[in-house]
């Protein structure tokens, strides 16, 4: 093949393949479990330091995986009154509460048309294994509204296979909008104080407008309520990582 000016084509070596190593490219994802962050108060920081030492010690012996509200977990606990002395429960995490050693998480599932919620303590010695079957986030931090949603949104297969999740990928956010049972609900979820984004409200416009009467737009500007945890989180994350790698 000849070029347009009549000279023989010079040998052009093929372009070198650009290897994009996603693992190294993506910054190491910094996840700090929310129970490590100390609450605002007048307690001595020494108390939090000692509690953190105990928590890290427990994490060295027993693996507590990273999970968020909305991920599906399978927990096996030791039960003196069950066959085989262990009890396995699969459910979606609807709430993570408590700080320090008393941190808890609530798992919800519907078994044989009966809704069941179990509140487990993360650092209890009776827990034998915590396995994350599906790691994902939802639009809210608190999924208590699943109690008033249609049962299909809370049913999960007990023998579900774990969905693989690669280390470097970002956590998928499930933008599911849940349909609710007819009112009355246990809480008035349409009110702005709950700030729920994951419900498909099928209420008339008039009711939604009436619910906005209870909005408190000054709350987000209240400076006394601000609690900036970014620097505290950095310090604690570094400390926890250093100890766990030892």
């Amino acid at each position: 093949c000849r070029r347009s000016d009549g000279e023989p084509a010079k040998f052009q070596p093929p372009p070198k393949p650009v290897i994009v190593d996603k693992q190294k490219q993506r910054e190491e994802r910094r996840f700090l479990s929310p129970e490590f962050i100390p609450p605002r108060g007048r307690t001595d920081p020494l108390k939090f330091y000692i509690e953190r030492k105990d928590m890290i010690q427990r994490r060295k012996v027993f693996n507590i995986p990273e999970f968020y509200v909305g991920s599906i977990l399978a927990v096996t606990t030791a039960d003196p009154y069950a066959d085989g002395k262990t009890n396995r429960f699969v459910g979606i995490c609807i709430q993570r509460g408590g700080k320090g050693l008393g941190a808890t998480f609530v798992l919800r599932n519907v078994i044989e048309e009966q809704g069941v919620e179990i509140c487990y303590e993360l650092y209890s010695p009776r827990i034998q294994e915590i396995k994350v079957l599906k790691l994902e986030k939802r639009l809210d931090d608190n999924l208590m509204y699943l109690r008033d949603a249609l049962p299909e949104y809370s049913t999960f297969d007990v023998n579900m296979k774990p969905v693989s999740h690669l280390d470097y990928e970002e956590i998928p956010v499930n933008k599911l909008q849940v349909r609710m049972k007819p009112k009355p609900w246990s809480k008035r979820w349409e009110r702005p104080k709950y700030n729920i984004k994951g419900i498909k409200f099928e209420l008339p416009e008039k009711k939604m407008k009436e619910a906005q009467k209870w909005s408190q737009p000054w709350l987000e500007f209240d400076m006394l309520r601000e609690y900036d945890t970014s620097k505290i989180e950095e310090k604690i994350w570094r400390e926890v990582n250093k100890e766990l790698k030892k």
């Binding site: 307690t43 108390k47 002395k85």
Partner: protein
Amino acid sequence: MMPIWTKSGEKHAVTLLKVQDCHVLKYISKEDSDGKTAKLVVGGKNVSPFHKTEAEMEIFKEAGVPRKQKVTTFKVTDDAIIKPGTPLYAAHFRPGQFVDVTAKTIGKGFQGVMKRWGFKGQPASHGQTKTHRRPGAISTNKASKVYRGKKMPGKMGNIYRTSFGLKVWRVNTKYDIIYVNGSVPGHTNCLVKVKDTKLPTYKDCNKNPPFPTFFADGDEELPEDLYDEEVFQFTDPSVTYA
């Protein structure tokens, strides 16, 4: 307050008490205290020496110790006398002992009779005129006087109260912290007095304590954490029921 788990999987709530710069200040002999027992004056947390008169600072000067925020007396038998100026550590208490904790309760200010004494008050409706949280009658007709000590509104809290028979689950010798079962009177970071129990049921439980106290001379090397036998330590694997 923190949770603590036993080896059988039960959870107990625990209060952390820190032993902060405790020194023995003075020894009062049996005859001086005009009683049957000798007394030892002990002082707590260190504070600045500039806001007290010279006369009050004398006790601290004699013992050679910085000024303490709290000063209490302990009644002591003759064989447990300690020289003034010795520091006291958390290892004085060992896990498995039982302890009484005294402190000033949280002050609630001037409170009404329903909060202070737990009176039932009056109904909210059905014709009550301006009477919903009042004490009602304060005495009978025959008595024609009000008895002394009648429960009435007044200042609530900020008085010394004791919780008895609290078990010591764990002692941290590095930071001088005692883990005591249950709750303790007082707000967070308040000063507290810890004594051996006076309850007769736990008389036999305080066996072989460090007597008269734990001296950090370097003779005895204690591990950083002392646990009770039943406490689940986080270095062990999870609890299983065989």
